[in-house]
Every structure is written in C-alpha cells, then in structure tokens.
Amino acid sequence: MTAGVFLVLSAFLASAVEMVEALTIVLASGVARGWRSSLTGVGAAVLTLAVIVAALGPALTVIPINALRLVVGGLLLTFGLQWLRKAILRASGFKALHDEDEIFSRELAEARTAAPLLRGGVDWYGFTLSFKGVLLEGLEVVFIVLTFGSTQGSIPLAALGAGVAIVLVAGIGFAVRAPLARVPENTLKFAVGVMLTTFGIFWSTEGAGASWPGSDAALFGVLGFVIALSFASVALLRRRKRTMLVTAEAGA
C-alpha cells in the first residue's frame, strides 16, 4: 500500500514535469509553424513511445525480481541523483531556475526564423521540433513508468499516475494555450529528485541482498533521510554562495 501510493505519486509528479516541458515545445512549434505539423509530430512521437512500452514492458516482467531491483535501483539512483543535484544547485542559486516563458520565447524565435520545409503538406521543421520534444521528454516518463512499475510489480499502476499527469497537463495546456509558467516546476523537479533517489536507495539495497528494518515501511525513513539531506545541502550551499558574494564584493 505504502509503495503503491509512492509509485503513483512519483509517476504522476515526474510525468507532469516532463509534460510541462514537452507542452512548451509543442506550443512554440504550433504557433510558429502551424498546428497541423506540430500535432502530427506529437502523434508520431506518442506512437513511437507506445511501441517502446509495448516491447519493453512485458520483457521486464520476466526478469527475476531481485536482479531487476538491483539494476533498476542502481539506474534510478544514478538518474535520481542527477535530478536532485540540479534541484539543489537551483535552490541554492548555483544554477539558473527553469523558466518556461523564457524557453518558449527562445523556441518560438528559432522556429520563426527557420526556412519553410514542406513535404506532403507538412512543415518538416514543425513536425521534427514537436516529435523530438515529445519523444525525448516522453522517454523519461517511459523510463520511470517501466522501472518503477516493473520493480513494484505493477506497470499499470505507474502508467495510471503518468496518464493522469499527461491528460491534466495537456488539458490545461489546450485550455490556456500558453506555457504553464505558473506550475511550480522547480519545486516539482526537487520533489521528483527526492522520490527517484528514495526509490533508488531502497531498491538497490534490496537488490544487492540486504533487508530493510521494517520492510516496506522503511521507505518513509529513507524518504525523510533524503529530504533532510537535500535541505541541509541547500542550506550549506546558500551559505557558501553568500560567502562567495561577500568575498567577491570585498575584492572589487
């Protein structure tokens, strides 16, 4: 039950963040190059992602659970630490915050200046921009859904969390027809980094043959540990940033 709630929540949050980023690219492509090309690119990317899920999903379920947890736990931990590291650097001022409005403006300007490239009534630039955006962001969602779902023994449950996020973001995006800049994306990325790292620690430990005291309930303990570690890191780096600024000012 505990792991199931974490599973749906993690898949939902990670998918929401990725879909907000994909939406920005699709909107820029649609506004600058026409909606037909942009939406054709979205359709082709979704189809490609569906084929990947259909091919890999059943294959993962035949791998022994401990081997799966070891590999998936290690991958998730490496992947999650990337997210967490970037989120901590953003929160402490060492890395620029993710700004969807700025990204939208940049993508729009690039899409408007590119020369038209029509093939079969479809603008190739608009198609490719949408296709690549949705495919690359979608691959992260697929990776999370398949790894979380297979390790927890429930790909449909992980897919449910991801599906709700995709429908929600696409629905809001269709309604407002603007980048979802008000979504607290940096906070969500922080939360996803914490979740991925938590699951990564938990599963890689079990996969390596160790047992957690309290079994599945230990997930709460690991979660609390990762949150405390993250906030402590942000506090330490903020202090370091202030010291660097004071030193730089004194030297100027």
């Binding site: 931990l77 490496t78 967490l84 650097l89 430990t205 390596a208 047992s211 690991v222 570690l229 780096l237």
Partner: protein
C-alpha cells in the same frame, strides 16, 4: 556507426549525465552493500551513507 554512437551518447547523458564519478560511486556502493550483506551483517545503511558522500562530492565540484 554514427547512429550507434549518437544512441549510446543519448543513453549516457540520460542516465549518467555530466558527473560520471557519481555513477561510478553508486556502482561501488552497490558492490559494497552486496559484500556486507553476504557476510551476514546488516547492510541497509551502506547506500544512504554512500548517497551522502556522492552528493557532497558532486555538489562540491559543481559549486566550486
């Protein structure tokens, strides 16, 4: 050949990212957990400790 290289690079960037040392330390920590667990000693504490070390080293490099 170019596609194979691009495909490999994509997955490397996707999973490992810009700090390969962090990924290497995670692999070492998994091996250490397996070794401790095999000797019948509780090994659940190895990965959390390793994460503290990995994050500290990685953040230190990125913020210096």
């Amino acid at each position: 050949m170019k596609y194979v290289v691009d495909f490999g690079r994509f997955w490397w960037d996707f999973v490992v990212g810009d700090d390969w040392r962090a990924a290497a330390l995670v692999i070492v920590a998994i091996g250490l957990t397996a070794a401790v667990a095999a000797s019948d000693i509780a090994a659940w504490w190895v990965m959390p400790l390793a994460v503290v070390l990995v994050l500290a080293l990685s953040l230190r490099r990125a913020s210096s």
